[in-house]
């Protein structure tokens, strides 16, 4: 292209957004190749706006890079604060997740060999996510728990964020292991609603008990219910259609309770002095 440049009038019109479409099109094509014309746009941009954007950019490149899970969460739309809290959750660590996956894979593999192991898988399946929730709040594993308790961030919000994160990670792992089970498909998914119901029940109990104890209570109740019934061959009592409706009701009820008491819920401390 020859030394053709945009005249000042054209630049001014373009920068103001007052250029008709074909002028704008030509201008934009030209600006891709011409540094002096690009410079001529600068006076038409508010200095304050340019400064403000620069400060944000400078801060972001100075600050340390977020870890990959955090970046993923932010891209998915979670707020930056939420993403950081999830990333700092003790349960969401490689070793822990591998342990859960390993145990379940073992159970699923064993189920191929022996029908009874299938039942064991169903009984054990909700315990994985539940244990994850408990661990996320167990004092020994969250080193900043004490500091976090003194911070204004809502305990309930932290509870919900972490629980959701733990479930989002552990439930697919369990589901994947379940796919390896022999037999009909519905059985492999029969543990989903019970997990939801048990989790909501545990969350609702955190108003009165610490998260670890609440999960323990709920998990014990589950085992006491399912082990005798499955051993006796009465799978439908814990996993049948009526039971599934019951688990759903429990989930909804627990959630409703939590919503109603949200202003008074504080996560309790369990350790002695």
């Amino acid at each position: 292209m020859s030394a053709w440049h945009l005249d000042p009038e054209a630049i001014s019109r373009y920068a103001r957004g007052a250029a008709p479409p074909e002028l704008a099109a030509s201008a934009e094509a030209h600006l891709m190749k011409c540094a002096p014309c690009r410079g001529a746009i600068a006076p038409h941009v508010q200095a304050r706006r340019a400064e403000a954007i620069w400060h944000e950019v400078a801060d972001r490149i100075d600050a340390p890079r977020r870890s990959r899970p955090e970046r993923l969460l932010v891209r998915l739309g979670a707020g930056e604060a939420t993403a950081r809290l999830v990333a700092a959750t003790p349960t969401l660590r490689g070793p822990w997740l591998l342990a859960v996956a390993g145990v379940l894979a073992l159970a699923a593999w064993a189920a191929q060999a022996d029908q009874r192991f299938l039942l064991m898988f169903l009984v054990a399946a909700p315990l994985g996510p539940l244990a994850g929730v408990a661990v996320a709040f167990a004092g020994g594993l969250d080193p900043t728990r004490e500091i976090g308790l003194a911070a204004p961030y809502s305990g309930l919000r932290l509870l919900l964020v972490r629980t959701a994160a733990v479930l989002a990670v552990t439930v697919p792992i369990v589901a994947l292991a379940g796919l390896a089970l022999p037999g009909s498909n519905w059985l492999a998914a029969a543990w989903l609603l019970p997990t939801a119901g048990l989790t909501c029940a545990a969350l609702a109990l955190t108003g009165r008990l610490t998260p670890v104890v609440a999960v323990g209570v709920v998990a014990t109740a589950w085992v006491l219910l399912t082990v005798p019934t499955t051993v006796a061959g009465r799978l439908d009592l814990a996993f049948g259609l009526v039971a599934q409706v019951g688990w759903l009701a429990l989930a909804i009820g627990g959630g409703a309770w939590l919503a109603l008491t949200r202003h008074t819920v504080t996560i309790k401390l369990g350790r002695t002095a």
Binding site: G17, A18, A19, P20, A24, E28, A29, V45, I53
Partner: protein
């Protein structure tokens, strides 16, 4: 206050940025922020969203400066990053405008149409003679270099519509420039 203009060209600045040269980055910002702001601003009605996208773009430039393929203009590379960020951002939260037709342009009178056609040549005139919907599609795919799907997101229409309009536009332009 008088500042010595940085003598390096854009390609050299990018190389310096890869080594972590903040001054080079600041200079690149000075050179390219204004036009990027205006150009993206013409494709999105929300200034806040544009600010955010521009911010994301320059952070991406800093972090991926080493990945420029050394072909073509640096400005084009920056534009590629910016327009894709805009498309992503619009996918996540559309400003409540309808279909994007007029790229924040202004309707021209008939006389201006003719004058500008004379000044900017045949292609300009042919483009101007297209309806707003067809013109928008041509600008998104040809000028901005977007794929069909990206153009669909930018303009707020289904990808199939983008394709049909492109075909119609091409046919019309071929006719008029023949």
């Amino acid at each position: 206050m008088p500042r010595q203009p940085d003598p390096r060209d854009d390609a050299q600045l990018l190389t310096a940025i890869t080594d972590g040269d903040r001054e080079a980055f600041a200079e690149l910002y000075r050179r390219h922020l204004p036009w990027l702001l205006v150009r993206l601003g013409r494709r999105c009605a929300s200034p806040e969203l544009v600010d955010e996208v521009v911010q994301d773009t320059f952070v991406a430039v800093w972090r991926s400066a080493g990945r420029w393929d050394r072909r073509g203009e640096v400005a084009a590379w920056i534009w590629g990053i910016g327009i894709r960020r805009l498309v992503d951002a619009l996918r996540r939260s559309r400003p409540p405008a309808g279909e994007l037709l007029e790229f924040a342009g202004v309707e021209t009178s008939a006389e201006e149409h003719v004058l500008l056609a004379v000044q900017y040549g045949d292609v300009g005139a042919a483009l101007a003679s297209l309806s707003p919907e067809l013109r928008a599609v041509v600008q998104a795919t040809v000028l901005d270099g977007l794929t069909t799907r990206e153009a669909a997101r930018l303009l707020g229409i289904p990808p199939g519509t983008v394709k049909t309009r492109m075909m119609r536009a091409r046919a019309l332009l071929r006719e008029r420039l023949a």
